[in-house]
């Protein structure tokens, strides 16, 4: 074990912990609070499913329509896409998501004041507490986003079948799907990380004396 160099008198500087330890504790805390997390998770799932579905539908629709028109002499009625409104709706759903996660995390930080204070009394550094809460939220975000993407892809495919008959199924251009999913994953993770920034910072700045507070 490498001991840091002596600083003032007999006092040394506290060491940084490896990220794996923060991951381990974050996972443990999440498992215990699964019930509450599920509510937040649902918001993320829905918002990300909405985003993925709209995105994919916009890609699938024209391809399938052209293919169907070329194949048979079907008169396909393409509904006029109102992209402006869709972008507005998606932004709104993502914003709701952001505020929801932020709120849930903030509540979790306020509730756990004693736990945070105690960890600081035991020698946890600000950066460790920051990592703990950021990780917790990012795990939640990634899990929700992945579920949302799966749901969104399924919805987009189902919509094509409903709109253009079962013949559309074989015409779906799956090639671009992984890229859309990856982009959605990036957006989902970025939003949860952004949402957790302030609560995590607040937790990190909490004074160790919070551990002494008796009232809840």
């Amino acid at each position: 074990m490498n001991l840091p160099v002596k600083a003032v008198g007999q006092v040394q500087r506290q060491v940084q912990l490896p990220l794996s330890k923060a991951v381990e504790i974050a996972l443990k805390s999440m498992r215990v609070r699964l019930g509450r997390s599920i509510l937040t998770l649902i918001t993320i799932v829905m918002a990300m499913a909405f985003l993925t579905q709209v995105w994919l539908s916009n890609r699938f629709g024209p391809v399938i329509r052209t293919a169907l028109l070329a194949k048979a002499h079907l008169a396909v009625h393409e509904p006029v896409a109102d992209n402006g409104r869709l972008v507005w709706l998606i932004s709104l759903s993502l914003l709701v998501c952001l505020v929801g996660i932020s709120n849930a995390m903030l509540m979790s930080v306020m509730e756990r004041f004693r736990e945070i204070g105690t960890m600081k009394c035991l020698g946890a550094l600000d950066s460790f507490i920051l990592k703990l809460f950021l990780l917790e939220s990012i795990f939640l975000g990634v899990a929700g986003t992945v579920c949302g993407i799966v749901l969104g892809v399924a919805l987009a495919a189902a919509m094509m079948v409903v709109r253009y008959s079962t013949a559309a199924w074989s015409l779906i251009p799956w090639g671009g799907v992984p890229w859309v999913c990856l982009a959605a994953l990036g957006i989902g993770t970025a939003i949860t990380a952004a949402a957790a920034m302030y609560p995590a910072w607040k937790a990190a700045r909490m004074e160790p004396i919070a551990a002494m507070r008796v009232e809840v």
């Binding site: 074990m1 003032v8 006092v11 040394q12 506290q14 105690t118 035991l122 004396i209 551990a211 002494m212």
Partner: protein, 250 residues
């Protein structure tokens, strides 16, 4: 002040010294003095009780001694180091290695088992996981909880939780144990057992125990008692002096 000089044991190593510590709180445009210049010295291996009614400044003094609260003026030395001079990393090190904290509300991390709770300060201190677990197990056996090491705090009684907390406080072999009302949430007998355990650990490991309390059971085992009133040290008594005064105390 005269009480302090007569009660202090001579020729021993200092572990904590406060010099004229003042703590002020601003409440609107009024300034409230919680501590009005407290100077005390605590020696290595002593068992100190800080007694006083709530609002007396007892907790404020306790927190200042523990490096948890910065005084408005005056100095606090822990093991000859001026706490105010330390940066965040050094303070964290001090809390991790030099001081063990015991709380009224036990404050175990709810998502961790007893063993993980005791191992945590060692891991924060940079010890290897396996070594930390071995040592945590040994300390838990010392506090007679060898059979409950894999239990979560919610599966333990109050007394057992406080034993785990004591084990955790001793994890990094600190020089000072700070116990804030350690018996405040326990019934009479459990409280007695906890006080007994603290005293045993104090003797056998030579650790300085500083306890803020209004539990009179603490009087029997304390080496010295600091009586705090209105933000000042009213008197400092040795244990033998207390028994004489016991009648008037109640």
């Amino acid at each position: 002040m005269t009480a302090q000089t007569t009660a202090a044991p001579q020729g021993r190593e200092e572990i904590v010294r406060t010099i004229n510590v003042v703590k002020e709180y601003r409440m609107g445009d009024q300034t409230l003095q919680a501590l009005k210049g407290v100077s005390v010295t605590i020696y290595r291996g002593e068992y100190i009780s800080i007694m006083g009614p709530s609002g007396s400044g007892k907790s404020t003094l306790f927190n200042a001694i523990g490096g948890l609260d910065k005084p408005s003026s005056g100095k606090v030395f822990i093991d000859e180091v001026d706490v105010a001079q330390l940066d965040a990393l050094e303070l964290a090190w001090l809390r991790c290695r030099k001081i063990g904290y015991i709380f009224q509300t036990f404050n175990l991390i709810p998502v961790m088992t007893a063993l993980e709770n005791v191992a945590l300060p060692m891991i924060f201190g940079g010890m290897l996981e396996a070594d930390a677990r071995d040592k945590a197990k040994a300390i838990l056996e010392r506090v007679e909880l060898g059979h409950r090491i894999d239990n979560k705090p919610s599966q333990l009684s109050g007394g057992q939780q406080q034993r785990v907390a004591i084990a955790r406080a001793f994890a990094n072999d600190p020089a000072i144990i700070l116990a804030d009302e350690p018996t405040g949430n326990l019934d009479l007998n459990t409280g007695k057992a906890i006080i007994g355990l603290l005293k045993e650990m104090n003797r056998e490991r030579g650790v300085t125990v500083i306890s803020a309390t209004h539990d009179l059971k603490m009087l029997d085992i304390s080496d010295r008692i600091f009586w705090i009133r209105d933000g000042a040290v009213e008197k400092i008594q040795r244990r033998d002096e207390v028994t004489i005064d016991a009648g008037q105390m109640h």
